[in-house]
């Protein structure tokens, strides 16, 4: 009676051992392939809202609607070093709205009022138009709808506002749902250091 048990036990142990070895080997093989973190990021050179060439079109809202997170992990980001600091910013103001008595457009563009405008540098008290203005996007309000990005884009603006994935909000899906919907394949998976660099809209030829 004890012999069938021990043979079975032995077989059991051998098979278990070999499965464990296979699993261990597999794990080691996979671990060798592991490297630094890879994250999803918007390629500004492909994104409809920021790539050069399409003017006057309706802003693409897919980054807002497709993201699995409640308030999309994609937000508009103003690269301050590239911003024109214009008095009448087409991303802040709705420049087709009626002009008020101060000479500024009466309506703002952002549907969630996420952009704040404040004068910077030395102000000219007699001529407020003669001044630089800083435009700061409140990321807690922004939902990545892309309207400001589309308006800031050249030639109307200088293209300093782009859509970026924010990694304190992004959950890092295996396949970003926005990437599945994006018509220009603008969502790419790249190493995190590259993803945090300022966006390249177009290589300079001068």
């Amino acid at each position: 009676m004890s012999q069938p048990v021990s043979r079975r036990d032995l077989l059991h142990n051998v098979v278990r051992g070999s499965v464990l070895a296979t699993l261990g080997g597999g794990a080691l093989f996979l671990v060798q392939k592991a490297h630094g973190q890879v994250v999803w990021q918007v390629d500004a050179a492909r994104c409809i809202n920021s790539r050069l060439g399409d003017t006057g079109a309706e802003a693409c809202k897919l980054c807002t609607t497709e993201c699995v997170v409640a308030l999309s992990a994609v937000r508009a980001v103003n690269e301050y070093a590239k911003c024109g600091r214009c008095n009448i910013c087409p991303a802040y103001f709705n420049i087709t709205s009626a002009v008020d008595e101060k000479g500024l457009p009466s309506e703002k563009l952002c549907p969630r009022d996420a952009i704040a405008r404040k004068p910077i540098g030395k102000a000219d008290p007699e001529d407020p138009a003669n001044n630089f203005y800083e435009y700061v996007i409140d990321e807690e309000k922004c939902d990545g709808c892309g309207k400001c990005v589309m308006k800031c884009k050249e030639p109307l603006g200088l293209g300093s506002i782009v859509l970026r994935v924010r990694y304190d909000k992004c959950v890092g899906c295996n396949r970003c749902t926005i990437s599945r919907a994006c018509p220009k394949d603008a969502l790419v998976q790249i190493p995190v250091e590259q993803a945090l660099r300022p966006p390249e809209l177009r290589p300079r030829t001068e």
């Binding site: 050069l52 006057g56 024109g84 420049i95 087709t96 003669n130 001044n131 630089f132």
Partner: protein, 273 residues
């Protein structure tokens, strides 16, 4: 007033009369010859649009202007090269700080004006290149508001400088010695008489009237000296992605506009109604 397009000169390409990568500035001399600055070359076309002459510049050329004596001034990075009418280099004015990016050149009785985009000001030199004074820096923002990176101005027959200040949506008038005399134009998003967008007008030319070009909704317009809109020269033929389109006017009132994307010179003549 109305205008109609009569010609297109140049275009994008590698042929002698075409432009490869850029078309930045236009000037018209007394004989009706058109001087075009693009790539690293000055090209001279006759009134019919045929290429007459062309010569290279040391650096990519940003602006061109023709003096009364026929000398051709080519503005570049940190220098101005002066050629004779045939294209031979006569002189080079170099200055690291005063001629950072020379995007416009003009002439007054007692000297030469150069628009420096790096410092957002117009420099006033005498005929030998000695610096006299700045124009446009005497304000709290120390210069013109030029997010588009180009200072453009023109000098009228009275010697008054008409400079485009795109950030303020107006064309300002200055004396060569510096003081601001006045301005025309205002921001308006939808009214064609106003300047729309973030920074318009981008370029200006003057002869009896003020001719301006705008971007983002590219168009060329004509105003009188009181700021009343006289005509919209054209908007349709320009590539929608143009910006900083140089404009020039000749003695007959023919308007030349440089399309910076199509790299072609559009020629419009006034139609007597």
């Amino acid at each position: 007033m109305e205008y109609r397009q009569i010609q297109v000169i140049g275009g994008k390409g590698s042929a002698p009369g075409q432009f490869a990568t850029s078309l930045r500035s236009l000037a018209v001399d007394a004989h009706g010859q058109i001087f075009a600055a693009g790539d690293s070359e000055i090209k001279v076309f006759d009134a019919a649009g045929r290429l007459k002459r062309r010569w290279s510049t040391a650096r990519p050329v940003l602006s061109v202007a023709v003096a009364a004596d026929g000398a051709v001034y080519a503005g570049q990075l940190r220098q101005i090269e002066i050629f004779d009418g045939a294209g031979k280099l006569v002189n080079t004015w170099r200055d690291e700080t005063l001629l950072g990016r020379v995007t416009a050149i003009g002439f007054v009785k007692d000297g030469v004006l150069a628009g420096d985009a790096a410092d957002r000001a117009i420099r006033h030199f005498d005929h030998n290149g000695k610096f006299r004074n700045n124009i446009g820096k005497d304000n709290p923002v120390h210069g013109f508001l030029i997010p588009n990176g180009v200072v453009d101005f023109a000098v009228d027959s009275q010697g008054i400088i008409h400079a485009a200040n795109p950030g303020k949506h107006r064309v300002e008038r200055y004396l060569p010695s510096g003081p601001l005399l006045g301005h025309i134009g205002r921001f308006h998003g939808t009214d064609p008489a106003g300047f729309g967008g973030c920074c318009n007008p981008t370029n200006v030319a003057v002869r009896d009237r003020i001719y301006v070009t705008e971007k983002a909704g590219p168009r060329a317009k004509v105003y009188d000296f009181d700021g009343n809109l006289q005509a919209v020269v054209a908007s349709a033929p320009f590539d929608p992605n143009c910006k900083n389109m140089s404009v020039a006017v000749d003695g007959r009132g023919v308007v030349y506009v440089a399309d910076t994307v199509k790299l072609a010179i559009f020629v419009f003549e006034p139609v007597t109604v």
